[in-house]
Symmetry: C2
Subunit: 326 residues, 2 copies
């Protein structure tokens, strides 16, 4: 029997999860929950139910696991513990600094309900974290580097769109080539924020807006842009819609280290993603499979990617994995 | 208290394990077992005991885990089950085709003794396997590529040394640049054995040996060289000793895939190793830590890298890992 998976939230990530489930013969999308008017949602999966998120608990017996596709700022801190009262959960909570507090809340809620949840699943936090952690455990005497991009930063794009005179905007985070080359040479450089990434902005102005003022507002914006080399390109709406609607991303985690006899050793994990939400959705779905296996053997409470043995992610048996993939 | 680790076999890999243990404050090298005359072994660790491998069982109460550093062809099939009768074990059994049979033998021996063992630890099999497996579970619709090198193949170097007239020899496995570029472009090429790797040989001839005959014997050798583009370079013994005594290696595992909405997605894991045995030793030591944690919670029997949750590899607590590395 297929595992019955539901999605809460049907934005970019929810659609990514839906696409990923369509490639998994052992799971099926059984319902989409939304805060919007269910009639306004047009799912890609034929026949799937769209239901009011406020009534999700009524469907607990029909759903094996809930994938939470809300944002980390305001959605998940509320939705995570609420859904954990009735469902095994997977989420992509990605505010790194708040993970310990979110973990504590989720662990309490999941233990109270006897359910199992895996938080902060995706690629960073997620696969990048696993690679940072494993590389550090294997090579204790070394230095970690993480580069993001070339890819769209939703937060930075939003920040530009809030500037007066901006109609549309997208921001690409771009690793600085010299820094990447220096890291990959194994030279263990010391790099500032500005050394590592630059920011490329594509902006469509409102009629009559002042380009110089918009540029100034972007490049001097604290936290978001002031610490980076930033370029601002003004383009037509037509060009924007043609060239800047995809959501590519990627990056890499690298560890340069020494073993005790004196050799240099380097481990690198990298991603080149045509669509960030479709990839992140694929990661959430693989960890949903793992969560169901962990729950089936009686586990409950909160977990992270660090707690999940690789084999649990696969639909193959241990025997098949050893014969085909070891 | 530090975990008391012993090594069986003190060749290149045993010395790599010894070096790795010196960087781990939670473990100590407590003994080296050898089939050679113990007096002939000069360990790098001050004060460590060197003991007769045949008497290892006598020391079972003084050792928490045994790292088996023998070869896969003849050593491990005998030593693995023998040591499993008295010790938790880690080994790097690397004959891919024979893993299921070795697993079965080790699992029976370990279950009989109530001990826990992890087999086939290292980088391939090992970390490459974990990455192949995870990438396939996350992106089911795709294609895997594995490239090895540039690095020394011990098996191919040995094969050359068995040719009449060869005094010293080393063989480097080298990924073909065009093939690597094609894979990294995401074009999912179909590649033959010859397309993917070439073989570079450096040979010191015996006095009066026939270079043309040696070249012919190498490049036509079935399995080892006949299916590859092979270059043979004759060098002086002095140059050999100066430039070809290190044991670098590396390579990468890449998966090119599509998500269901049509995007191209790529995952790559790569290693650039100054010393293959020192790196492999570091992997064995991290998995030794994991094995001890699994044994401490009452587990026994045979495991592989697929069964080990990442957190088990680290000396840090779950709380520290979530706060620092997620």
């Amino acid at each position: 029997m297929k595992a019955r998976i539901a999605i809460n939230g049907y934005g970019n990530l929810g659609r990514g999860v839906e696409a990923a489930l369509s490639l998994c013969p052992d799971m099926e999308l059984t319902a989409i929950f939304t805060r919007r008017d269910p009639a306004s949602i047009k799912p890609n999966t034929p026949g799937v139910r769209v239901l009011d998120a406020a009534k999700a608990a009524d469907y607990a017996s029909e759903i094996d696991l809930m994938i939470l596709c809300g944002g980390s700022a305001t959605d998940l801190p509320v939705q995570g513990p609420a859904f954990a009262a009735n469902f095994h959960t997977i989420d992509s909570f990605d505010t790194h600094a708040d993970i310990p507090a979110y973990y504590a809340k989720m662990d309490a809620a999941l233990k109270a309900s006897g359910k199992l949840g895996i938080i902060s699943v995706g690629w960073d936090p997620g696969l990048f974290s696993v690679n940072r952690m494993m590389a550090g455990a294997i090579l204790p005497d070394g230095q970690d580097y993480t580069f993001w991009g070339r890819g769209v930063s939703q937060g930075h794009s939003d920040a530009i769109r809030r500037i007066k005179g901006v109609k549309k905007a997208v921001q690409y985070t771009v690793p600085v080539e010299e820094a990447v080359a220096s890291v990959r040479s194994g030279s263990c450089p010391t790099l500032t924020t500005r050394d590592k990434h630059r920011r490329e902005c594509y902006v469509v102005l409102e009629e009559g807006a002042d380009a110089a003022a918009v540029t100034e507002a972007i490049v001097t914006m604290p936290k978001y842009f002031a610490d980076y080399n930033t370029t601002v390109n003004f383009i037509s709406e037509e060009e924007f819609d043609r060239n800047h609607r995809a959501m590519p991303h990627g990056g890499f985690v690298q560890r340069s280290a020494h073993t005790a006899e004196g050799s240099t050793q380097m481990i690198e994990f990298s991603l080149k993603l045509g669509s960030n939400p479709a990839f992140t959705g694929s990661v959430l779905v693989a960890y949903a499979r793992a969560a169901l296996k962990m729950a089936a053997r009686g586990e409950s409470g909160c977990r992270t990617v660090f707690d999940v043995a690789p084999a649990l992610l696969s639909p193959l048996s241990g025997e098949e994995l050893r014969a085909k993939l070891l």
